[in-house]
């Protein structure tokens, strides 16, 4: 199962790179720098997925006290923070040639930075509290509160005047993106989602073994 998933991840990433660099054409307005979108947008969508999993796992842990739920939440938060970091960094790299700046305190950028810090806080809480049960309980609460920022991030471009463009995916109404661009985006999204599943599964297994070793 693990090996099959590993091969699927490699296949997905290769397909994503081929789609992003070979199949998808050069953007008429932005040129080739627009290809950063195939990393940037799937990364943030996978981060949303990761934090949704943290939210569900936190609720399940608080209601049932199942350690498996806590482990899934922990692993998902770690991987979600990674993908949020990639989103922020790739966005900054894309912003420099297109906006003329690496960073601006725009509503979208600021809310994503807050999201990143909140989930870093989630991981810090886990590390700071010695008692395992209390650490799981506190971080579950942080995981639920932090999830409130996800819709704020997504809708910030509608609610405030921002430099950032409106969403290209997960938006109401039909897609305005040409088919080949949308297909490339979807292939890269699938590849990064597989990477997420693969990393979370591995991290969950390691967390269980760590707990067994400590017991």
């Amino acid at each position: 199962m693990n090996r099959t998933l590993g091969w699927l991840v490699i296949l997905g990433l290769v397909a994503g790179l081929v789609m992003g660099f070979v199949v998808a054409p050069r953007d008429a307005a932005q040129g080739n720098v627009q290809r950063i979108m195939y990393v940037h947008v799937p990364s943030v969508l996978v981060a949303y997925l990761a934090f949704a999993v943290v939210l569900i796992a936190s609720i399940v842990y608080l209601t049932t006290r199942r350690e498996a739920a806590d482990r899934i939440g922990h692993a998902s938060a770690e991987v979600g923070v990674l993908f949020t970091g990639i989103t922020i960094a790739s966005g900054a790299i894309w912003g420099k040639p297109t906006w003329g700046t690496w960073w601006t305190w725009d509503a979208r950028l600021t809310s994503v930075a807050v999201l990143f810090v909140m989930y870093l806080g989630y991981l810090l809480v886990r590390g700071m509290v010695d008692d395992r049960e209390r650490a799981a309980r506190y971080s579950a609460v942080v995981g639920i509160v932090a999830a409130l920022d996800v819709p704020l991030v997504h809708f910030s471009v509608y609610w405030w005047r921002t430099l950032h463009q409106p969403p290209t995916m997960l938006k109401p109404g039909p897609s305005t993106m040409p088919g080949v661009f949308a297909a490339t985006l979807l292939v890269n999204l699938a590849a990064l989602a597989l990477v997420y599943v693969f990393l979370v599964m591995k991290r969950v297994r390691l967390l269980r073994r760590e707990e067994e070793a400590l017991a």
């Binding site: 790179l17 050069r26 307005a29 932005q30 040129g31 080739n32 720098v33 290809r35 950063i36 990393v39 940037h40 990364s43 770690e78 991987v79 990674l82 970091g85 990639i86 960094a89 790739s90 790299i93 894309w94 420099k96 040639p97 990477v195 990393l199 591995k202 991290r203 390691l206 073994r209 760590e210 070793a213």
Partner: protein, 104 residues
């Protein structure tokens, strides 16, 4: 607009480095756990020679330095690491009859 390939490559490389570094971190953790488990394994196996230790016998003079676990009622050899000498030393509870308690 210029193509800015350097920015494109930087973004992809950065994503690859971040995910690759996390993957390596997980693999390193897994190896550490495996080596830890391997060190513990022979102790639980057929090489076991002793029974339970009377908690009162375990003290700071113990050879292995792990006898605090035996206070909880764990078998002696479960706490002895494979790398440590199996030959009873001067501080071993079974080697000194004088430290044994008489049977009731």
């Amino acid at each position: 607009m210029p193509d800015n390939w350097s920015f494109v490559i930087a973004a992809y490389l950065l994503a690859a480095v971040v995910l690759g570094a996390y993957w390596r971190h997980l693999v390193k953790k897994e190896r550490e756990l495996e080596s830890h488990e391997r060190m513990d394994q022979p102790v639980k196996g057929p090489q076991s020679v002793g029974g339970h230790v009377n908690p009162s016998m375990s003290g700071p003079h113990s050879v292995t330095g792990h006898f605090n676990q035996s206070v909880k009622g764990t078998a002696v050899n479960q706490s002895v690491k494979a790398t440590e000498p199996r030959v009873p030393g001067p501080g071993h509870p079974r080697s000194e009859p004088s430290t044994r308690r008489p049977l009731p």
